[in-house]
Every structure is written in C-alpha cells, then in structure tokens.
C-alpha cells in the first residue's frame, strides 16, 4: 500500500486543519483551563465535529457513520494534536466506536453506534487500576448475580470518565488478578446505581477520572463480547486508542518542531539570528529526522489497522513506543531552543509538553510498549 495519503484523506486533513486552527486552537484549551471548565471540553466544538462526520469516522454507514477507517481517524487525531484540541474524540469516536462496531451485539450496536456517530453520547474506557498500564491485571470483580453481574472495585486514569455517558469496564469474572483469561468487558451506563466518578486535575488540563463501582448491577446484555474472553477485544480497543494517541502525538511533535524552526528564524542574540548557529541547526535537524520517522510508523500502524486489524498489534505497539519517545523529544527540544520564554505559562509550548506526557503514559508508555514488542518478537 502506498505510504502517501489518498485524495479523500488529504481533503480531510486540510478540512481538519482549517477547522481546528480557527475554532479550536491552543487558546481554547487555555481558556477551558483558566475558566475551570466543568466539562473540560467545548461542547459547541464537539457538536461541530459531529456535524462534519468526525464522530462517525469509524461507525458503519448502516448505523449512521461515515466509516472512513483508521487512516482517516488518525488524520483527525494528528490535526487535533497540532492544536491540542480537547475533546472526547479518542475515547468515543475511536475507542468506543471500535469496541461497539467490532465486538458489540446487534442490540448494542443499534443502541449506541447511532448516538456515537451523532455526537450525542460519550464513551470512556476504564481499564487501569494501578499507576502503570497493565490491561491483564484486573482487580475489579464482576460476580454473577441473578441473570446478570454485580461489579465492585475501582478504576483510575479513565480518560473522559467524568463526561462519559457509558463506561466500557474490564472486570474479572474468573481467575486470579493477573490472569489473561477470566476478564470480561461490560458496558456500564454512567448513571447506573453505585457508579461514582471523580474528575482528576491533570497536568495537561484534559479530562481524566477515577471510577468507583460499588455493587453496580448490570444485566447479561451489558457484556461486550464473550464472558471471560474480554482481554482480546480490550486489546483491540486499546490498540485503536494507542494508534490514535500516536497520531495525536505525531501532530503535536510536528507542531513543536515547526514552531521551534520559526522561532529560530526570528530570535536574535549576539547580533545574529539564532537559527544560524550550527549547534541549534543540528538539534533541529536531528529532531526533524525523528519526527519524520514518527510520521511513517504512525501511518504504517493506521494502514495495518485498516487492512488487517487482527495483525496490527505489533505495528501499533511500535508506533506508540516510537511516538512516546519522539513527541517527548520534540517538546523538550522545543523548550530548550525557545530558551526562557519556553518556560513561561504565557507561551503555548508548555501545554504541549504536558499533554504529550499524559498521552505517552495513556494505554502504555514507551517502556511498556518496547517490552511488549520484545515479547511479541519472542525475546
């Protein structure tokens, strides 16, 4: 498959860049933060995204989506990474839509997918329980009760958890805490009795929450996929999110590089434009090379998700690991080359390094994915 975006993807990219640059630039995130926004994202912008079909980018047409695939979904995420646009796009349009369209029952699809496509419902994936990502380690329990299940336990680092209408929760239905088998996915309405959600105040000013489940009763219809066989679909949903995050980080890294290169062409010290200094030229040129590698591996991962999602795990793993490294390098180098102004809150670069740090940690950091990559490669 050619590693060049086709016309549709290019049009989408241009449209996304135009819209986000005008309607949801970094200043929007800054305002949400400064105003102490309760939602943590702008609902008007979200509605406009739904209108443009972004929320349905992975939803089949039969359920009201536009079904453009992961490359298209990644193009949008990448552009959002450039502007740091805060929205439940990844948790809903990428992960929620992947979960339901690939693993949902007919009834679940009919109930949720049209709402996702229309931007009328937000989903959040509740997976982690400790400070380090580990989807197979599940302490939240789901015990059979009547013809359904009763859930107990606590999840943390749930992106968009407090604005979600529906939580996708991994819980243990069998086996010990670290067993790969015995995990089941549940669709839990946010307003179900016993669900309490507490928003966390995150460094990136974006949404994340802890979710406590106390004797939450759900029916058997709430099971997504197979009972005890939840890890495989969970990994598929996480991979969609990881690829989306990698695309987002690629956009952020590109923006950091471009902003920095522009600054190097303006700033004067010692009577010279600092971009003439070879020490800075080489830092920037090395960063450029890393950012280019990042773009390539992200596109490969997204293309593999479209062509053969069951074989995409290794490419996604490589992409998330690589972009974790590249985007953090970009943010660090951007601050260094901006000098003192890069350290000020008034300047936007700080928003990038903070968001990239969170995106890096979400659903497995570069260390996690390098280890996983080695395991997949049998060493």
């Amino acid at each position: 498959m050619s590693m060049v975006l086709n016309d549709d993807a290019n049009m989408l990219k241009d449209a996304a860049r135009g819209f986000l640059g005008k309607s949801a630039p970094v200043s929007q995130l800054r305002k949400l933060r400064d105003d102490g926004s309760e939602d943590g994202f702008d609902r008007q912008t979200w509605a406009a995204m739904a209108e443009m079909g972004w929320t349905g980018v992975l939803v089949p047409e039969a359920h009201g989506g536009v079904d453009m695939g992961y490359v298209a979904a990644g193009v949008i995420a990448e552009e959002m990474g450039r502007t740091l646009t805060a929205s439940p796009y990844l948790s809903t349009a990428v992960m929620g839509a992947t979960a339901l369209s690939r693993f949902g029952s007919d009834a679940q699809k009919s109930e949720w997918l049209p709402k996702l496509a229309a931007g009328e419902a937000v989903t959040a994936v509740a997976v982690d329980e400790g400070r380090k990502h580990n989807p197979a380690r599940v302490g939240v329990t789901a015990e059979r009760s009547g013809n359904g299940f009763r859930l107990n336990g606590r999840k943390g680092f749930v992106a968009e958890g407090h604005v979600a209408d529906m939580l996708i929760v991994s819980a243990r239905t069998a086996g010990g805490e670290a067993d790969a088998e015995g995990i089941t996915l549940f669709l839990v309405p946010r307003n179900a009795a016993g669900v309490s959600v507490e928003r966390a105040d995150m460094v990136d000013s974006r949404n994340s929450a802890s979710v406590t489940l106390e004797n939450v009763d759900v029916t058997a219809d709430a099971v997504l996929g197979e009972v005890d066989g939840g890890l495989k679909p969970l990994e598929a949903v996480l991979d969609a999110g990881r690829a989306g995050l990698a695309a987002e980080m690629s956009g952020s890294a590109q923006q950091c590089l471009e902003t920095t290169a522009d600054y190097l062409k303006e700033r004067k010290q010692f009577g010279q434009i600092i971009g003439t200094f070879q020490a800075l030229q080489h830092r920037a040129a090395h960063l450029y090379s890393e950012v280019e590698l990042g773009k390539s591996i992200v596109l490969k991962a997204l293309q593999t998700l479209d062509a053969a999602p069951e074989h995409a795990a290794m490419m996604v793993c490589a992409a998330k690991a690589k972009l974790g490294q590249v985007a953090q390098l970009a943010a660090r180098e951007a601050i260094q080359m901006h000098g003192g102004i890069g350290m000020t809150d008034e300047f936007d670069i700080g928003f990038y390094i903070k968001r990239i740090r969170v995106a890096e940690a979400l659903y497995g950091d570069a260390n996690y994915h390098a280890d996983k990559f080695a395991r997949m490669r049998k060493y």
């Binding site: 434009i273 070879q278 080489h282 920037a284 450029y288 390539s296 591996i297 990559f373 080695a374 049998k378």
Partner: protein
C-alpha cells in the same frame, strides 16, 4: 490491474525457467555479491544468471531498452522485484554503475555517452569506481584540486583521489576534476569519465581498521581522458556531482535495513532466554527492542519518502535525512550485535565477521557526506534555517 497480472505471470514463468538453482540460495557472505567488470571472477551460475537477466534488460529494469534496460514502469519493476523475492533469486548484478553513474548519465549524458557507457554497465562488463574525495577535500568536497587540462583533442588529468571504492577492481572511474582554477570553487569543477586501463592511472588499496580494504587511493599522472567523455557542461560538473551524491546517500542510508536477520533473533540464539522467556541480558533486550522499533520506523520512512517522490511530493533533501538516520542506525545496530556476540566476536574471524562489520560501519556516517554535513543540509534546505 489485469496488465500487471499478465506481466506478473510472464515474469514468474520466466524466472522459474531461467534462474539457476544456485542463484536461489541465500548469499553466504559479501564474496557472493556479483559486481561485474573485466577483473571479476564469475562462478558459472553467476555468469549464466547475469547474462540471462541482462538479455531481458532486467539488471536495470527501469532504464530505457536502447541503453540496456527493459523500460519497465515503476509498478512493473516492483512486480519483478517481488517475483524475484518470491523465489529468493539473488540480485544478478550490483554496481556503482547501476546505483550512481547510470542515473547521472541518464539525466546529464548525451545520447552518445549513454549508448557507449550504459549497456556495458547493464551487462556487467564494465565496473566503475568513484573518484570524488581527495586528501584535502573530504567534507569540503568542492575544494578538490585534481587538475584537468584541455590539450586540444583530449584532456590531461593530474592529481590524487582517495576513498575510491574498489578502484583496484574497477575498469573505469568517474572523476570530479578542476577545469577552472580562477572561478569560485563550485563553478570550476567538471565531471569526466576516465579509462583506468592506462599507464597514467594507478591505484593502491587502503587498509582499514577492520583489516579489510574496500577503498583505494587512485593516482592520476598525465592520465588521458577523451573529450567526448566530459559529462554535462564544462565547469558545471558540481550539478552532476550533487545529483549523483543524492543517489549515493540513498544507497548508503539504505544499507542499515534490507533483508537483515532481526537483531532479537540473533541475540536469542547467542545469549538465550531466561525462565520468564525474556532475553537473558535484560539491558541488551531493552536496547534491541528500542532499536528494532526504530528500524521499523526507518524502513517505513524509506518507503514513504520513495512513495512521496513517485507522487511528486516531498523534498529531495530527504535523502540527507535518510542518509543521516540510516548510517547512525547502522552503527547502533552493529554495536548491539557486538554486545550480543560477546567475547566470541572479539576474535578475528572470517572476512565478513561481526567485528569487521562493526568497524566498517564507523565509516558509514563519514562517507558520502558526514552526518554533520547531512544535518547542515536538513537545516538549510528543509527547515530553511538561515546561513551565518
């Protein structure tokens, strides 16, 4: 595409019938690479395979038919590569003629020059060396001083070139010479083709830290060059040189990828796994995992840059990025392979052992423009940072 499918079927049948069994075996060492030329000792299957492929124009499939190629489109050439890979057919011929001089002649040469020089390259009859660097012109290549004088019906060349790859095994050499000593340094250089089979040209191999001698010094002492062998315009050889360097960079940058055995597999074989199924050296395991991920990203980048070039997108200066990253990566890869092989790699062994390869890679980020020169090019041509 039905046309491509038909072509694929035709290629497949032909390869099945014509590729000798010996040429379907993996190469054991660098000694199995067929470089061609008058001094090359072919094995019988190598010669048979080369002649058959050359007769089809498939040693240089995308070159025009009249110059020894097959005039294949890019998609057709890709089909040929895929079908060769399918039966694990070896490349019948590789050479600087194919990689570097050929593209430069196709762009800058006259019809007569192409007719004279391209078909012998395609058939593996003439092996070419590159005469670029001089003892006092390394990274600052344009300061070269090898002198070329107009003697009426011919040119006379005097001077010394260094790092001339395999010049001791080559038949002809393409040389950057100074034809105007008064002009600004970039505007007094010409690109000329010289027959090495004459008393005025001599070569001496340079022994490297690896113990191998892939490079030579080449001396020109009143060497004769024919006037019709000046490529491009007089004093505009720098344009040809730069164009050719782009191809050289891509070639060197690409060396770190290719059909290399994965590092993880090699390390498992050498070091083994621990009880948990992980490589028994946990720190090396981490480094290898990171390097393999970077390797995947680099290969994807080579693919993307090539696809962008085909689509008329991207920037030609990306060859500097590929050269920079590819060579630095290759150095890193060989360091890890040395770590993995441990003390056994520290004994001198065969000509292609890991220690010699490790030492050889140190030159990758120097030859064809150092990493620092590539970073300068990226900074200026891609990031458009100002010059001092």
């Amino acid at each position: 595409m039905p046309d491509l499918d038909a072509f694929r079927a035709e290629v497949r049948d032909w390869l099945d019938a014509n590729c000798p069994e010996e040429m379907r075996q993996p190469m054991e060492s660098e000694a199995d690479i067929v470089w061609g030329g008058k001094k090359f000792n072919f094995t019988e299957p190598q010669k048979l395979w080369l002649d058959r492929m050359a007769a089809k124009g498939w040693t240089v499939p995308e070159w025009p038919v009249e110059y020894g190629g097959a005039g294949l489109s890019k998609p057709e050439a890709k089909v040929l590569r895929e079908e060769m890979q399918r039966i694990k057919a070896r490349t019948p011929l590789q050479s600087f003629g194919i990689w570097m001089l050929g593209p430069a002649l196709l762009k800058y040469g006259t019809h007569e020059q192409k007719l004279e020089h391209l078909p012998p390259i395609a058939r593996g009859e003439i092996r070419w060396a590159q005469g670029y660097s001089e003892p006092n012109a390394g990274s600052d290549l344009a300061s070269l001083m090898t002198k070329c004088e107009d003697k009426g019906d011919h040119y006379l060349v005097n001077g010394q070139k260094v790092w001339t790859s395999y010049a001791d095994r080559a038949d002809w050499i393409f040389v950057l010479v100074r034809t105007d000593f008064d002009a600004p340094k970039h505007l007094g250089i010409s690109f000329i083709l010289v027959d090495m089979d004459q008393p005025g040209v001599s070569t001496r191999p340079i022994k490297l830290i690896s113990g191998r001698s892939p490079f030579c010094e080449t001396f020109f002492d009143d060497a004769r060059a024919e006037k019709h062998n000046l490529v491009g315009e007089l004093n505009r050889g720098w344009d040809v040189a730069k164009y050719l360097l782009t191809h050289e960079r891509e070639m060197i940058g690409g060396m770190g990828s290719g059909a290399m055995r994965p590092m993880g597999d090699i390390a498992v074989q050498q070091i083994g796994l621990d009880e948990s199924g992980r490589l028994a050296d946990p720190m090396l395991r981490t480094d290898i995992a990171r390097a393999e991920i970077d390797g995947l990203a680099f290969m994807a980048t080579m693919e993307r840059v090539a696809d962008e070039a085909k689509a008329g997108q991207g920037t030609g200066a990306n060859s500097s990025m590929l050269k920079y990253y590819g060579t630095e990566f290759n150095k890193r890869r060989l360091e890890l392979m040395m770590d993995s092989a441990g003390s056994e790699a520290l004994e001198w062994g065969a000509d292609d052992d890991v220690a010699r390869n490790w030492l050889r890679t140190k030159g990758n980020s120097i030859e064809g423009g150092t990493s620092e020169v590539q970073l300068n090019i990226i900074a200026k041509r891609i990031l458009e940072l100002p010059s001092a």
